[in-house]
């Protein structure tokens, strides 16, 4: 069984889904079921009695086999992220926490310093820390050293659909890491998820590309298929590139051969 192991948790699916931007909870549920995902992100928000549909706890609880990975979105400092993580654990009952600290709403790039500080504290508190980070191999290694359960470098900016703009840095992070590397953010189409898996990522996290698709459940299924295909290809061993042609057929002449 080629399963994804994070801490004491084992997942057969390598597609992690975000739950933002869906037009309804029902559509989100249908996409989740179609994706086969077992690990899903949620965000903490203030309760508003005028908008009871915002509360995803009950819709998510109705899907068997899901583990919640709350994020710390909204935090702009390590202290805020640590507080958000502790609150989220009260609700989720899950040790997973996606450390997400992006102070600038214009580009939503993760703050590496605050992310590192928060991750260090939360790992010591027993969380399975999954930090959302810039695609920086040095930072990724430092986070591994302080006990993070994975690192989640961005492919490109959140919601941008720019794909694997950071591909070369991702390759270095994958090569150097001994913990799962999960590409988080920026993926637009299933082929990009396949490519991330072919590069050797352990999983991908997708939200916008599925949530804003014309048919989110169908897109979720397409992503799931590509994640599986990419993983299988990586395990099978992808051929090396060559600067010159290498024949696949014998070059021995026979038509018109004189001897």
């Amino acid at each position: 069984m080629d399963s994804l192991q994070i801490g004491n948790y084992t997942f057969s699916s390598r597609l992690i889904l975000g739950t933002g931007k869906f037009s309804s909870a029902t559509l989100m549920q249908d996409a989740l079921k179609a994706s086969g995902s077992q690990l899903v992100t949620v965000a903490l928000r203030r309760f508003n009695r005028e908008q009871p549909g915002d509360d995803l706890y009950t819709p998510l609880s109705s899907i068997p086999g899901l583990t919640l990975m709350p994020n710390t979105s909204g935090a702009s400092t390590a202290a805020e992220a640590v507080q958000a993580a502790r609150i989220a654990r009260e609700l989720s009952g899950s040790p997973f926490i996606k450390v997400e600290i992006h102070p600038n709403p214009q580009h939503l790039m993760p703050d590496p310093i605050e992310t590192y500080e928060a991750s260090k504290i939360l790992a010591k508190e027993g969380f399975l820390v999954m930090p959302y980070i810039p695609a920086d191999p040095v930072l990724a290694k430092r986070l591994e050293e302080v006990g993070c359960a994975s690192v989640m470098p961005l492919g490109s900016a959140i919601g941008s659909g720019q794909g694997l703009a950071t591909a070369e840095m991702l390759r270095i992070i994958i090569r150097e890491s001994t913990i799962p590397v999960i590409v988080d953010a920026g993926l637009r189409s299933p082929s990009e998820a396949a490519l991330a898996m072919e590069m050797g990522c352990s999983a991908v996290l997708v939200n916008s590309a599925i949530a804003v698709a014309g048919d989110p459940p169908a897109m979720a299924e397409a992503f799931a298929g590509c994640v599986q295909a990419g993983r299988k290809a990586w395990k099978a061993g992808i051929m090396e590139k060559s600067g010159t042609a290498i024949a696949t057929s014998p070059l021995t002449a026979f038509l018109g051969a004189t001897s």
Partner: protein, 73 residues
Amino acid sequence: MPEQPNTITIQLNGEPCTLQAGSTLQELLLNSGTDGKTIATLVNDHIVRPENRPEYRLEAGDRVEMLIFAGGG
């Protein structure tokens, strides 16, 4: 606005909120239209667990946060 006798004003999710003096956190949840089962509560930045809400009496000036899981990536 001056407080009426037997009432206190707190901050609920950043907004002023008037309630009966002696109200508990659980009563505030019920008055807010929820049993609180899917909500995390904080008072003055401290987490108050569900089992402690029925006894937790709110005081004037308390800052109460009620948080849910909403969609997010």
